[in-house]
């Protein structure tokens, strides 16, 4: 018994859900439409589970062709789904975490839409969520690079839509363009990455005559390795765009403008890991291009460290998590770059659990403060003044929190679990997965190892800092004092995720190697070798993490931060901290290097080159006016310029004027005769002298 033929439903169900919500969402009400969305996502999860079950029995890859798509000559790309252990792993993560987030969001958005003053947006949110699930499922289940690309861009679109969900606001809730700017930025940065993937596809097709994974991998070894290197490097651009690696990561922090469930789902657990999935999927290609692998690993490791430094300096609860995500993605990318595909995937899964948990937890914190600030009783809507920018109450600012562990204990507990998992403390999930990466790195590339270890240290530090700032100490604002615990519909998913964060390590527990064996069916033994537990590495990283937490405690725990006080790190680090807070001025640098030059160049091209020069000058002045001028000159050789008006006077018979201008008043008939005569003379001259 297998359920492979059901696999298209992982896409259809969410699509069905979103269509339902589009058509009758308004009539279903909040509960109905969130239920529809949940069922759609949950259904996809069920189908994924069925795939898993089927695959457990028949672990080799299954391809389910659904329909023709593009079919020109050698280019044969059908809509075909690929069910293998790698894709099913992703399916399970996406739909599983996704479904949990659906549940959470049903509660969260109820409040959020009211705080943003637009209850009608509720349905829209779930439409987007379902759309995202569909696109993500296409991404992970497509049997060809092209189909993968459809999902790839599709999730980019959803990311755009969801980041810009409150398109008329700024992230702090005031009216403005910043959210939409963030959305735009995300889309464009993703597109830059997509360009790389596109180019990789062109090269793949030209060289190997197909875009289907099996055919491509089968033919890859016959291709000149330098081409493979080019292909894989092109792909790296795509990975950098989607998985927020250097230098294209800049969109992800801004993406926190989206509602918090979105940050959890898209910008932490699923979409951003697509790059990791892509590299894992393309393992046969990367293995043929060691230089590309090294590049990928170094890019990942550098990103991990770089983002971790920035995370240290952030005050926004979500921004810290955002940079942390970038950093963790760096771990994964570094892992797959090193050839440690299993480790990368392992970390991908565990990270999905604890980072989703953290984001959702932060959402719960934010909502708690928001509800304390403007209470909403029941479904009774209460208007509140739209805040002015700059003076807004920003529920995401950690500086106004503090002491929350007392008022929102559930959130605190799960958040703590997530934070420790992220910090990599045993026996939580993060410990195992990160450790596996570090172990592999130590074997493969000491530099990468060093970078990652440093990043791990910083990770523990900033998480410690965050937890201490948010939950410990004294409340630093009225809202923090009165914070309200979230309703069960939000906390239950948190608890489930917390459980997964604790137990996630079992997936590939040292010695058991569940995930390794599972993925071996797809990646082959060569790329899915088991990594043995390395006590030295484990101890090093654990000790470093503890040290970092201790450090954080000395700074933030021993003497809790007072309201409106400066961050203690600022004193210690001085201008370095300013640099961290300002994210190393990378955005500004890009603005200076790319955006503003492009804007100026485009304006120059459009206004000066195209319009003033090409349109006005070349056409209007040179061609049109030139012709006309020439024509006027030929028609009135004596009437040019100033004389024009005078000559008109002549026609009315102003004699005095006429005689004073007699030099112009040549007899016209004689002029004509002279012209005739001139014609004759020159014609004869030609015939007599030249013919």
């Amino acid at each position: 018994m297998n359920y492979f033929d059901l696999v298209p439903w992982i896409v259809f169900l969410p699509v069905l859900g979103l269509l339902l919500n589009i058509l009758i969402g308004k009539r279903l009400g909040e509960r109905g439409s969130s239920l529809v969305a949940f069922l759609a996502s949950g259904g996809a999860f069920v189908v994924s589970v069925l795939q898993w079950l089927s695959l457990s029995a028949h672990p080799e890859a299954h391809i389910v062709k659904f329909a023709e798509w593009i079919n020109i000559g050698a280019l044969q790309v059908p809509w075909a789904f690929r069910v293998d252990t790698l894709s099913v792993t992703m399916m399970l993560v996406v739909s599983g975490v996704g479904t949990l987030i659906h549940i959470y969001a049903a509660g969260y958005m109820h409040y959020d839409v009211r705080y943003k003053g637009d209850p009608a947006a509720y349905q829209r949110f779930f439409i987007y969520l379902n759309l995202f699930i569909a696109a993500m499922m296409i991404l992970v289940s497509g049997d060809s690079y092209l189909m993968l690309f459809v999902g790839w861009e599709g999730v980019g679109l959803c990311s755009f839509l969801l980041i810009g969900f409150w398109f008329n606001k700024n992230p702090d809730g005031s009216s403005g363009m910043e959210n939409s700017n963030a959305a735009k930025k995300a889309f464009i940065a993703n597109r830059v990455g997509d360009l790389g993937l596109l180019l990789a596809m062109f090269a793949i097709f030209t060289l190997m005559g197909s875009l289907s994974f099996d055919t491509v991998f089968a033919r890859a070894e016959f291709i000149n390795p330098s081409y493979i290197l080019a292909i894989t490097l092109f792909m790296l651009i795509g990975v950098a765009g989607k998985s927020a690696q250097l230098p294209l990561y800049v969109w992800l922090p801004d993406a926190m403008a989206g509602p918090t469930p979105v940050s959890a789902l898209i910008h932490a657990a699923t979409m951003v890991t697509a790059g990791v999935y892509l590299v894992a999927r393309s393992a046969p290609l990367y293995s043929l291009a060691p230089a590309a692998q090294t590049t990928v690993a170094v890019v990942g490791a550098l990103t991990a460290l770089f983002a971790a430094t920035i995370a240290v300096g952030q005050n926004d609860i979500k921004k810290v998590l955002a940079y942390s995500t970038i950093s963790q993605l760096g771990f994964m990318v570094a892992a797959v770059g090193l050839g440690a595909f299993v480790a990368g995937m392992f970390h991908l899964v565990t990270h999905a659990f604890f980072k989703a948990l953290l984001f959702l937890g932060s959402g719960s914190v934010i909502l708690a403060l928001e509800r304390a600030h403007h209470p909403i009783d029941g479904d009774h809507e209460q208007h509140h003044e739209e805040p002015k920018k700059g003076h807004a109450f920003d529920p995401q600012d950690m500086r106004i929190m503090g002491g929350l562990r007392k008022v929102i204990p559930t959130t605190y507990r799960v958040y703590l679990i997530g934070a420790l998992a992220l910090a990599g403390l045993p026996p939580l999930a993060g410990f195992f997965s990160k450790d596996e990466i570090l172990t592999d790195a130590l074997h493969a590339n000491p530099l990468v190892y060093a970078l990652l270890t440093a990043a791990a240290f910083l990770t523990a530090f900033y998480m410690g800092r965050q937890v201490l700032l948010v939950f410990f100490g004294e409340p630093r604002s009225h809202a923090a004092e009165e914070a309200v615990e979230s309703p069960p519909i939000m906390t239950w998913p948190l608890i489930v995720l917390a459980g997964l964060s604790i137990l996630g390590g079992l997936i590939n527990f040292p010695g058991l190697h569940g995930l390794t064996n599972w993925l071996e069916h797809t990646l082959g033994h060569e790329f899915a070798h088991a990594t043995e537990f390395n006590l030295t590495v484990a101890l090093t990283s654990t000790l470093l993490a503890l040290l970092a937490i201790y450090l954080a405690w000395t700074l933030y725990g021993r003497e809790p931060l007072k309201a409106k006080a400066a961050d203690p790190l600022a004193k210690r680090l001085g201008s370095l901290f300013t640099a961290l807070q300002n994210k190393w001025w990378v955005d500004e640098f890009y603005g200076w290097l790319i955006i503003r030059p492009y804007q100026r160049f485009a304006a120059f091209l459009a206004d000066v080159v195209d319009w003033r020069f090409w349109h006005d000058w070349v056409h209007d002045s040179l061609i049109a006016r030139g012709f006309r001028g020439l024509a006027v000159f030929l028609a009135n050789p004596v009437d040019l310029g100033v004389i024009d008006g005078l000559a008109n006077g002549l026609a009315t018979g102003a004699r005095g004027l006429a005689s004073s201008l007699s030099i112009l008043q040549t007899g016209y008939v004689r002029n004509y005769a002279l012209m005739v005569f001139f014609g004759v003379v020159s014609m004869l001259a030609y015939l007599i002298f030249f013919s």
Partner: protein
């Protein structure tokens, strides 16, 4: 230089002189008279070239009738002193220059590249007799002759149309 040539050059000088006279006279009446002189000289050339009938026609029709008509109109309009003192601007030098160019071209053509038969044979005595011309006119040249008559008719109609004052109701 034979007598023929002397006669030719003499008459040619008169003809050209008369033409220049017409061209340069300030008084239109003098111009007309110079033109008559020119026509008469040309008539002599016709005679020399064995065209007595044409010479006669030239004197009678051209120098006589047509030029009298000219003189008559000049007198009628009192236009004889008109406008000769005005300058012509750039038109005049260019015109003269072009005329000189034309003359240079002609001379180069006639005496440089295209020298024509230098000797002309004597002709029979009945060459160009009125009979011969008349016969040709009514045989070979019947069509042009008739057309000419129509032409004169048309000219007559035209003159009437032009001279007649338009109807009073205008």
């Amino acid at each position: 230089m034979t007598a023929d040539l002397i006669l030719f050059f003499g008459l040619a000088a008169v003809a050209i002189g008369a033409a220049l006279g017409m061209l340069l006279s300030k008084n239109a009446v003098y111009s007309a008279l110079f033109l008559i002189l020119n026509f008469a000289t040309v008539a002599v050339f016709f005679l020399l070239l064995g065209a007595p009938f044409i010479a006669m026609a030239q004197v009678a029709v051209y120098a006589g009738a047509i030029m009298v008509l000219f003189l008559f109109v000049i007198m009628l309009l009192g236009a004889e002193q008109l406008l000769t003192s005005h300058k012509s601007g750039w038109q005049r030098p260019i015109a003269i220059l072009l005329t000189l160019v034309l003359l240079v071209e002609s001379i180069y053509l006639i005496f440089g590249r295209g020298r024509l038969l230098s000797q002309v044979a004597p002709v029979a005595s009945d060459y160009a007799s009125p009979e011969a011309i008349g016969e040709l006119l009514f045989s070979r040249y019947l069509l042009p002759f008739e057309v000419t008559s129509i032409l004169l008719l048309v000219a007559m109609v035209g003159v009437i149309v032009l001279i007649k004052k338009p109807k009073a109701n205008n």
